[in-house]
C-alpha cells in the first residue's frame, strides 16, 4: 500500500475531523506524564512521549456496568418484589490514536481471551467499533523490549493505520480498509521521496532494541522453578503490591465483579483487578491459595510466560512495552525475572 504524508501542523485538523464521527482516545501529557484518555473537543494529544498507560481502556474500561437492576415493589403486597435487569452495549465508534505497536499487539492478545469459547459481548461491542491508529516507535527507550516478545518498534500487527515518524510529520500507511478510509482526506499529501527517511529511523530503532532479551520459550523453565520458593521470594522482595504493573499493562485482562446499590436501584460493575493483591484469591472461608506475595508474583509470571503461551501457540502475554518496568516504584524489572528464570530453570 502506498504511503501518504501528514504534516505535524495538520494533526489537530485531522483529529478535529475524526472527532466529528467517533470518540478519540489519545495520549495527553500533563505534568510530564502522557496517558490515554477520551479527548474532549479541541484537545490536542502529545504523540512525542511513550505513554505511561496503555490504551486498553478504550475497549476494556477500568469500570463498566454489566447491567442495572431495579426492584419494584407491588403496590398491593409490599413483600412481593419484581426485579428488572437491563444492560447496554457500546454503540459509539472509536479510534485509538497514537497507540504504539506494542499497544496494538496488546489488543491482539486480549482478543482470544474475550472472544474465545465464551464471548464477552461488552468487549466485543467496543472492539468491533474500534480503529487503531498506531505510531511507530522511532525512539524506543531502555525499558522497551518488544522484539523479545515477538513484536518490533515498527510492527504493523494489529493496527489499522501505522504512522511512521519523519522530521516534520508522519508517513501514514493504511493496513486495513477501516484504516485506509481515515486517509481519504485533503490533509494527506503524497509521500514523495520521504520513505528512505522513515526507513532510516526504523533501522535505528530496531538496532537500538537488538539487545532485548527473548521472553519467549520460558514455559519449561517456569515449571521447573515452580517450587523454588527462594527464587520467587527474591524476585518479589521489593514489590509493594501496588497495581501499577497490571493496570498499565496492555495485555492484562483480569477483572473483578461487584454490586453497588442505592435504594431500589443498583448495578453490577466490572472493574480491573490485580493479581498482586492478597484479596485476589482470598476465599470467604479464610483459605487463600496465594497467601504470600512471592506466590502471587509466580502466578503473574506464570500467566504471562507459561500458561498463556501454552494455550495460544507459544505467544507470551507481554508485548515488551516496558510500562511496568518504567513505573514500578521498586524498580522491579520483568526482563530480569524472566531472564534469570530461563537461566536457573533451564
Amino acid at each position: 500500500m502506498s504511503l501518504v504524508f501528514l504534516a505535524r501542523e495538520n494533526l489537530p485538523a485531522w483529529i478535529g475531523r475524526l472527532y466529528q464521527d467517533m470518540a478519540v482516545f489519545a495520549p495527553m501529557t500533563i505534568n510530564g506524564v502522557a496517558a490515554f484518555r477520551a479527548l474532549g473537543q479541541d484537545e490536542i494529544p502529545d504523540l512525542s512521549r511513550i505513554p505511561a498507560s496503555s490504551p486498553k481502556a478504550a475497549v476494556f474500561p477500568q469500570t463498566e456496568t454489566l447491567f442495572t437492576f431495579t426492584s419494584r415493589k407491588h403496590a398491593d403486597d409490599l413483600s412481593q418484589v419484581d426485579i428488572d435487569l437491563s444492560y447496554h452495549l457500546a454503540e459509539v465508534p472509536r479510534v485509538i490514536l497514537g497507540a504504539r505497536p506494542c499497544d496494538a499487539r496488546g489488543l491482539k492478545l486480549m482478543d482470544p481471551v474475550f472472544g474465545g469459547k465464551v464471548k464477552d459481548p461488552y468487549y466485543l461491542a467496543r472492539r468491533e467499533r474500534t480503529i487503531i491508529v498506531s505510531q511507530a516507535c522511532a525512539m524506543p527507550d531502555r525499558a522497551c523490549f518488544c522484539p523479545g516478545t515477538g513484536g518490533g518498534p515498527y510492527d504493523p500487527a494489529g493496527s489499522d493505520l501505522l504512522l511512521l515518524p519523519v522530521a516534520d510529520g508522519w508517513l501514514a500507511q493504511g493496513l486495513t480498509e477501516a484504516g485506509e478510509k481515515l486517509l481519504a482526506q485533503d490533509l494527506f499529501t503524497p509521500a514523495g521521496d520521504r520513505e528512505p527517511e522513515a526507513q532510516s529511523l526504523k533501522d535505528k530503532a530496531e538496532a537500538y532494541l537488538a539487545q532485548a532479551p527473548d521472553m519467549r520459550g520460558a514455559e519449561q523453565a517456569f515449571e521447573n522453578l515452580f517450587k523454588d520458593e527462594a527464587f520467587w521470594d527474591q524476585a518479589t522482595a521489593g514489590c509493594v503490591r501496588c497495581r501499577i504493573c497490571a493496570y498499565l499493562c496492555p495485555a492484562c485482562t483480569c477483572f473483578n465483579i461487584t454490586d453497588e446499590e442505592s435504594g431500589l436501584k443498583g448495578e453490577r460493575i466490572r472493574t480491573w483487578d490485580h493479581c498482586m493483591s492478597y484479596m485476589f484469591t482470598q476465599e470467604a472461608s479464610g483459605h487463600n491459595p496465594r497467601m504470600q506475595k512471592a506466590f502471587r508474583m509466580r502466578n503473574r509470571i506464570g500467566h504471562k510466560f507459561c500458561y498463556y503461551p501454552q494455550l495460544h501457540g507459544g505467544t507470551v502475554s507481554c508485548t515488551g512495552c516496558g510500562r511496568c518496568v518504567r513505573a514500578c516504584p521498586s524498580g522491579i524489572d520483568i526482563r530480569r525475572i524472566v531472564e534469570s528464570m530461563k537461566r536457573k530453570g533451564a
Partner: protein, 317 residues
C-alpha cells in the same frame, strides 16, 4: 574513601549479624531500586548515593520478624522513628546505617526536562550540575532543577536515628520556605482548588501505589479501601471514589506523615498528591507544634488532647 565505599565496607562488616541489609542498587542510570543484600556478592550492585531516591522504611513492617540492616537518609530516618514510636517495629531487630544526604535526583523531573531521558545510559553529578548521557546527546542540567522536591526543602540531611553514621554529618543549610507551594495553591479560589482535584483525580488509575509505597501505611490487605464491610468505597474508578480515597489516606496519616514524598514519587501518573498530606501537616504544626518522626517520646497530637486547647477556639453557632 568515597561514600559508596564507606557504605559498602560498613555493610560488609555487619552483614554476618543480620538476615539482610536494605540499600539501593540496580543498573538504571536515573534512579536506584531497593537492593536486598543477603550475601557479600550483592554488595557489588550498590548504586551511587544521588540515586537513593526510595524510602526503604516501607519494607520494615512486613520484615519485622527478621533482623534487618537498613540504610537511611535523613528523611527516611523520620519514617523509622515514627514506625518505632507507634510500636509497629522493634528497635532491637534493626541495625541502622545513617547516611548524610546531599539530595537525590528525581527521575520524573529529568524526564520532563529531557525528551530522550528514557534512553539515558549514564548520569553524573558534579559541582551543582547533572550530566545525563544518552546515545545521541549529552545533557547538562542544574542540580537544583532536578533534585527531588523534598530535597529542596530539606531540614534534616542527617539521619535522626542510627547505629552507625557513614561519613561526616552535613551542615544544615539555610532552611527554605517550607510551604510556599501550599500558599500558592491556597491563593486560588475555592472553585479553582476544587477543579484542580477533579482534574487530578481524573488521571488517577487507582493503582494504590501511593498507599503501598507509604512507609506508614501498614494495614496492607486490611485497608478499609479494599473492604466491603464496612463499605467506605466502591470499586468504581470515578473521580468521587478516587478523591475520597486520597482524603482517607491523608486523614489516616494526619500527625504521622513525615513528608517523605514516596506517595507522589510512586504515582505512575505524576499526581501532586503530597499536597494534601502537607496541608494536614502544616495545620498540625500550627495547632499543636508537632512534627512526625522527630523523636521517639512525644505522643502524636491526634492520639492525645489538652483539656484547654491553646490554639483551638470554642466554636459557637
Amino acid at each position: 574513601m568515597s561514600t559508596i565505599d564507606l557504605l559498602r565496607e560498613a555493610i560488609r562488616a555487619k552483614l554476618p549479624d543480620l538476615d539482610m541489609v536494605l540499600a539501593w542498587g540496580g543498573d538504571d542510570p536515573l534512579r536506584a531500586s531497593p537492593l536486598f543484600i543477603r550475601t557479600e556478592s550483592d554488595l557489588e550492585n550498590l548504586a551511587a548515593p544521588h540515586l537513593y531516591v526510595s524510602n526503604l522504611a516501607v519494607n520494615l513492617y512486613s520484615l519485622r520478624s527478621k533482623k534487618i540492616g537498613l540504610v537511611v537518609k535523613g528523611c527516611d530516618s523520620r519514617s523509622v522513628i515514627q514506625l518505632l514510636k507507634e510500636g509497629l517495629i522493634a528497635r532491637p531487630s534493626l541495625y541502622i546505617f545513617g547516611l548524610p544526604c546531599e539530595g537525590v535526583v528525581d527521575a520524573a523531573k529529568i524526564n520532563r526536562e529531557i525528551p530522550d531521558a528514557g534512553r539515558a545510559t549514564g548520569l553524573a553529578v558534579r559541582s551543582g550540575r547533572v550530566m545525563v548521557q544518552t546515545p545521541e546527546n549529552e545533557h547538562i542540567l542544574d542540580l537544583d532543577a532536578v533534585l527531588a522536591d523534598r530535597c529542596l526543602r530539606c531540614r534534616y540531611p542527617n539521619p535522626l536515628i542510627y547505629d552507625q553514621l557513614i561519613g561526616e554529618a552535613i551542615p544544615v543549610g539555610e532552611i527554605p520556605d517550607l510551604y510556599q507551594d501550599l500558599d500558592e495553591f491556597e491563593a486560588l479560589s475555592l472553585d479553582a482548588r476544587h477543579d484542580f482535584w477533579m482534574e487530578t483525580m481524573r488521571r488517577c488509575v487507582r493503582c494504590y501505589a501511593c498507599r503501598n509505597a507509604c512507609p506508614l501505611c501498614v494495614c496492607k490487605a486490611h485497608c478499609v479501601a479494599d473492604s466491603r464491610e464496612p463499605h467506605w468505597l466502591t470499586l468504581e474508578t470515578n473521580v468521587s471514589q478516587k478523591w475520597f480515597f486520597q482524603v482517607l489516606h491523608s486523614m489516616h496519616l494526619a500527625g504521622r506523615c513525615t513528608e517523605c514524598g514516596e506517595c507522589e514519587r510512586a504515582c505512575p501518573m505524576g499526581l501532586p498528591i503530597l499536597l494534601m498530606r502537607r496541608k494536614l501537616n502544616r495545620e498540625i504544626r500550627e495547632l499543636f507544634g508537632y512534627e512526625a518522626g522527630l523523636d521517639l517520646m512525644t505522643t502524636p497530637p491526634l492520639s492525645t488532647f489538652s483539656i484547654e486547647e491553646e490554639n483551638i477556639a470554642e466554636r459557637e453557632l
